[in-house]
Amino acid sequence: MASRFSFRRLALIAAALAALLTSCSTTLTLNEAATTTRIAPTTTEPTTTQTPATVARTEAPPTTIRFSELPTVSIDELPPEALDTLILIRNGGPYPYRQDDGVFQNREGILPDHPRGHYREYTIETPGSPDRGARRFVVGERGEIYYTDDHYSSFREVTSGGDR
């Protein structure tokens, strides 16, 4: 399935993924995230535990940008196949399944509400599974990443750690 992300959306997601992938065991600081992902003003602002100004002044412990109130999972805690999928997303494919890069409709409303098309979903391989398995990433157009391992019954927001 051809990618339908706009350049800006791709840039946001690529930056967020690059930050995650390069910091697997290094905390993504708020300043780094704000610089690399250039979060644009939106109706639902990401939540943080400190403002950028506070971080800059006090050199407080690093925080992670949050887009939801959902439980979190550190990228370090994800299965190894998840990193393969993140790299594919960062590169814009090619994806192994035709369903990948499809619009996630958020029918259950577990993720924060956004117009349809905000979220896209990607399969994470499950070794030994006869089918695509139950593990997915759902990626929002601002670079927010959610992980499910129970076929969309529950989600955790992916962080680089440090805010758990």
Binding site: Q99, G102, E108, P130
Partner: protein, 146 residues
């Protein structure tokens, strides 16, 4: 098989646009499956008549659509299952006794039908051909009658 039944089935077998249609409950499923199989098309069918709430409706739809045993049994999982129907061929999904969930859990039924409708549109956009037929002896408005 009545003349009216012959006509809707003939229209289906002659080829209809992707989408959702309503049809009468005749002929029986086995005859319908045979007729569709003779065209070389894939058919998924079954009754949703006993579904009385979201959980039982999802269970019935998952079984009809050949969902994996460990599928999520939620609306987003139903989207995934419907999208995972085999591509590249004409696929007919026949849901029998749709009057049951339409009356007992109308909101859940509307969500399920909307998911299937969206899936037919997505499939058409990628060149696949998915037709969903809702069969009931009761009138079912909102979709084209075959």
């Amino acid at each position: 098989m009545s003349m009216a039944t012959n006509k809707w089935l003939e229209r289906l077998l002659a080829g209809v646009d992707p989408g959702i249609y309503v049809a009468p409950p005749e002929p029986d499923r086995f005859s319908l499956d045979d007729a569709i199989a003779e065209r070389g098309w894939r058919c998924h069918g079954g009754s949703v008549g006993s579904a009385g709430d979201k959980a039982t409706l999802l269970e019935a739809l998952g079984e009809i659509l050949d969902a994996p045993t460990d599928w999520g049994r939620n609306w987003d999982a139903l989207v995934d299952v419907a999208r995972s129907l085999p591509p590249g061929e004409r696929t007919i999904v026949v849901l029998d006794d749709v009057g049951g969930p339409a009356k007992s859990c109308p909101n859940d039924w509307a969500t399920a039908v909307d998911i299937l409708a969206t899936t037919t549109e997505e499939a058409a956009a990628t060149g696949d051909h998915l037709v969903v037929i809702l069969r009931s002896s009761d009138p079912h408005s909102g979709y084209l009658a075959l």
